[in-house]
């Protein structure tokens, strides 16, 4: 590996956004180097755990039902972000998302129709054949064919930036520091969700009990360097996308398989065997991403989802076996909860359940009355043994803090001026479009749209 020659474009990161930028720049004739901090198997950051990308389309795609018009997409985005989005960039994202299926296809990425359990996303989301890692494999294959240099285990340890102008990156490669010089930089290396020390700045000791859904390499080091180099921040640093995961999940990289979908079918109690939130507030896809934060706010960041035999087969199977017992007292014992407290919580809950017609596909009329907090839908008594429970922890998917960009995907400096040669794409700038909330597959949309823009901008700069 020769570090003497400068590259046209230096890409920090190795996920969807990074590869889209690298491929676009290489196709424009640039020499490109991709600096992936992770080992080859773990390449791609959160992309390796994704499965689809949301895109506006005219309904002719063979693997999608449709159409999904731009206006509807924009409505969906406004709804989940409650307006916390840069309108111009949001509209740009959605308009450009229409090109993604065709572009991905050109790079060899394959799609499949949605099957069991994901049919509801068939109109809005294109599913990668074999999931995110399958998609990444195709993008890396394409990068290889285009002659892009890819280094693994090459984390960026410092950036040399002069007055908002990128000069070189220092990487730690094969045990020694190396300088990688380039005419333009694309920062596409994600957020800081795996950086527990950083999370502790906002969450205190609670952060120690967070489960990180992605690899341990999503540390946000480049994000921090950019902020230190006068790049304008975007997004709430305290916020992260967090879901309820099985507490027995691995600390890092458990991905999709450790989530639990049982919450709407029963109740959730904390360490003191007390309920703390309306489990039936809205349909599960809409409430999926609030439970991580809710559990993070409970003592010891632990909670337990409890169902009875009526509901045990109603939700997606999970990788860890349910903890079960013939009586609530025994179940409490196994969960190390106070049996009397759990029995009382469930007795109170059962007594408050009003009769109704259970239907989890709609906001049904099964609810509690006179209970705090209430369960406003899908409330069914928990009385048919055996009883089942899963322990829950907050599982962090991604953080919202990022760098501000313009419609060329160019970073903005604190004085509002665009950087001469620094671009950002993917999770590191997603906060521009997604200020809060989440829309399935939007992370990949932002990554691909801004990855391509960044690749274009960087190559244009490098070649002039």
């Amino acid at each position: 590996m020769n570090f003497n020659e400068p590259f046209d474009v230096v890409v920090a990161g190795g996920g969807n956004a990074a590869l889209c930028a690298a491929i676009t720049a290489a196709r424009a004739g640039c020499s490109v180097i991709v600096l992936e901090g992770a080992p080859e198997f773990y390449r791609g950051g959160n992309t390796r755990h994704t499965r689809n990308l949301r895109c506006s389309h005219d309904g002719t795609a063979p693997t999608m039902s449709g159409p999904y018009e731009q206006a509807e997409f924009l409505d969906d985005l406004y709804r989940v972000t409650a307006g916390q989005t840069d309108k111009l960039l949001a509209e740009l994202t959605i308009a450009k998302s229409r090109e993604l299926l065709g572009w991905m296809d050109e790079q060899g990425v394959r799609f499949q129709p949605p099957l069991g359990g994901t049919l509801s996303l068939g109109k809005t989301n294109a599913f990668f054949l074999g999931g995110g890692r399958g998609m990444l494999n195709m993008l890396y294959r394409r990068a290889e064919k285009l002659g892009i240099t890819v280094l693994y285990e090459a984390p960026v340890t410092a950036l040399q930036i002069e007055d908002g102008y990128f000069v070189s990156a220092t990487i730690n490669y094969q045990g020694r520091p190396q300088q990688v010089r380039g005419k333009a930089l694309v920062a596409a290396c994600g957020g800081f969700e795996a950086n527990i020390e950083w999370l502790r700045e906002y969450w205190g000791d609670a952060a120690d009990n967070f489960v990180i859904r992605g690899t341990p390499y999503n540390r946000g080091d480049v994000l921090r360097m950019l902020h230190a180099a006068n790049v304008m921040p975007v997004g709430d640093p305290t916020q992260c996308h967090a879901v309820a995961l099985d507490a027995r999940s691995p600390k890092f990289d458990g991905g999709i398989a450790t989530r639990l979908d049982s919450i709407v079918f029963g109740i959730v109690v904390n360490r003191d065997a007390q309920r703390f939130y309306d489990e039936g507030e809205d349909t599960w896809p809409k409430r999926y991403a609030i439970w991580g934060r809710l559990i993070a706010q409970q003592p010891d960041q632990i909670a337990y989802t409890i169902v009875d035999s009526k509901s045990f087969h109603s939700f997606m199977p999970s990788i860890f076996p349910a903890i079960s017992a013939p009586t609530l007292g025994e179940l409490a014992g196994k969960l190390t909860l106070d049996p009397a407290a759990l029995q009382k919580t469930i007795a109170d809950f059962n007594a408050a359940v009003r009769p109704g017609t259970f239907d989890y596909t709609i906001l049904d009329d099964c609810r509690t009355e006179g209970l705090t907090p209430p369960k406003t839908h899908w409330a069914q008594t928990i009385d048919k043994p055996p009883y089942y429970a899963y322990p829950l922890r907050p599982g962090i998917t991604f953080t919202y803090l990022g760098v501000r960009v313009n419609a060329e995907s160019r970073m903005l400096l604190n004085d509002g001026k665009p950087s001469g040669n620094m671009f950002a794409a993917g999770e590191i700038m997603a906060g521009n479009v997604l200020g809060k909330g989440y829309l399935a597959g939007i992370g990949m949309t932002i990554g691909a749209v801004f990855g391509r823009l960044a690749g274009q901008g960087a190559s244009t700069h490098a070649r002039n």
């Binding site: 394959r110 069991g116 359990g117 074999g130 995110g132 890692r133 399958g134 990289d253 398989a257």
Partner: protein
């Protein structure tokens, strides 16, 4: 089988299917994952069914976010290969011969050697030593009478069919929980899926064979092998009709149908098994059941040798080598036939039934709790 102790491979397959069923990212790659999604728990019979549905294309391994070195160590093709190979022994009829799957290379080599030796000895003993090295203008029946050949191979062939049918019946009953299953539409669906090797396409990308990039090579060589085998079978069938219906006796001219079909099939059986063997040498061993590698090699070798000795016999049938070549060829064919119910040959039959069940279950939309 001792139900108290679950074999290690089934314990591991159960662990993997439980993880896969919570992930489901691979559901577009083949039939295994949609079939898995119809279940929440995995009994031994379910796993044997899923294992035989797996075509070991490897796509789910290279696409898996949980493959080794991930701590979940998900390796579906490798583990299902092991379960599949062990399932052949589990269902084998008669059961006391199931050990043949464990030392498959040795068993088949011995069977074939004994076969060849028996023919040489037989020709010499029944006729006289001269017949073995004489010139017979391509007339095999001078060396071994037609009726004797038919009686011997007919018996062996019928036994092999019987053994396969009884083994498959046990498998079919087991995977269907004792109930009948299938149906005509499902059968035809499975015929089509097998004929195209639909699930050796990796969902569109192809197989992981020579390296970690998908390629169609394994599928192509398998087509050479399978259709080569079928052409040879057709050749024999046509020759049987010639003999018994029309009274046309072998040897047939080079341009005659049995020879043309047999030659085309023979070419397939040279190219296909050779290609598959070379690919199996290059394939990442993690995707395969290395403990049963000899089963694969033995079957490929037998098909290759059947064709090779057949060609040698055809080309040298007018020379003094014919007698010896006939003994070798018949010995190899006898070995192939005898070992059919106890070797890699059965993979096609088990997989076909698994495909029938899958097609039927998809039709009925059957979900198992």
């Amino acid at each position: 089988m001792n139900l108290a102790v679950r074999p290690e491979s089934l314990v591991e397959a159960d662990r993997l299917m439980t993880i896969c069923n919570a992930c489901r990212y691979c559901e577009g790659l083949c039939a295994v994952f949609p079939a898995m999604e119809m279940r929440r728990t995995f009994a031994d019979a379910d796993l044997n069914y899923l294992a035989n549905l797996c075509h070991q294309c490897g796509a789910c391994y290279t696409d898996c976010q949980y493959a080794p070195p991930h701590e979940f160590k998900v390796n579906v093709p490798g583990v299902l290969a092991k379960v599949r190979n062990e399932s052949y022994a589990q269902y084998a009829w008669p059961h006391f011969l199931s050990g043949a799957f464990e030392r498959n290379g040795l068993v088949i080599t011995l069977l074939t050697s004994v076969g060849v030796a028996a023919f040489i000895f037989g020709f010499v003993a029944v006729k006289d030593p001269a017949v073995l090295f004489g010139r017979h203008a391509g007339d095999f029946y001078k060396v071994m009478p037609h009726n004797a050949m038919v009686a011997l191979f007919g018996t062996v062939f019928l036994y092999s069919i019987l053994a396969c049918v009884l083994s498959l019946r046990t498998f079919w009953r087991d995977i269907n929980g004792g109930k009948s299953g299938g149906g005509f539409a499902a059968f035809w669906q499975a015929v089509g899926d097998s004929a195209h090797l639909r699930y050796l396409h990796g969902g569109g990308g192809g197989c992981t064979s020579e390296d970690d990039k998908p390629s169609p090579s394994r599928r192509i060589y398998h087509h050479f092998t399978f259709y080569g085998f079928m052409l040879c079978f057709a050749s024999t069938s046509v020759a049987t009709v010639y003999h018994y219906v029309f009274g046309w006796k072998a040897p047939y001219a080079y341009y005659d149908l049995p020879v043309v079909l047999g030659s085309l099939g023979g070419i397939g059986l040279l190219i296909g098994p050779a290609g598959l063997y070379l690919l199996s040498r290059q394939r990442d061993p993690v995707l395969t059941d290395t403990a049963h590698r000899d089963m694969n090699t033995a079957f490929l070798a037998m098909l290759f040798l059947t064709s090779l000795t057949g060609f040698a016999l055809m080309l040298l049938r007018d020379t003094g080598a014919m007698g010896m070549l006939l003994a070798i060829h018949l010995g190899v064919v006898l070995g192939l036939f005898l070992s059919m119910p106890y070797g890699k040959f059965v993979h096609g039959l088990y997989r076909f039934l698994a495909l029938v069940k899958y097609a039927a279950d998809v039709r009925t939309g059957k979900f198992v709790d």
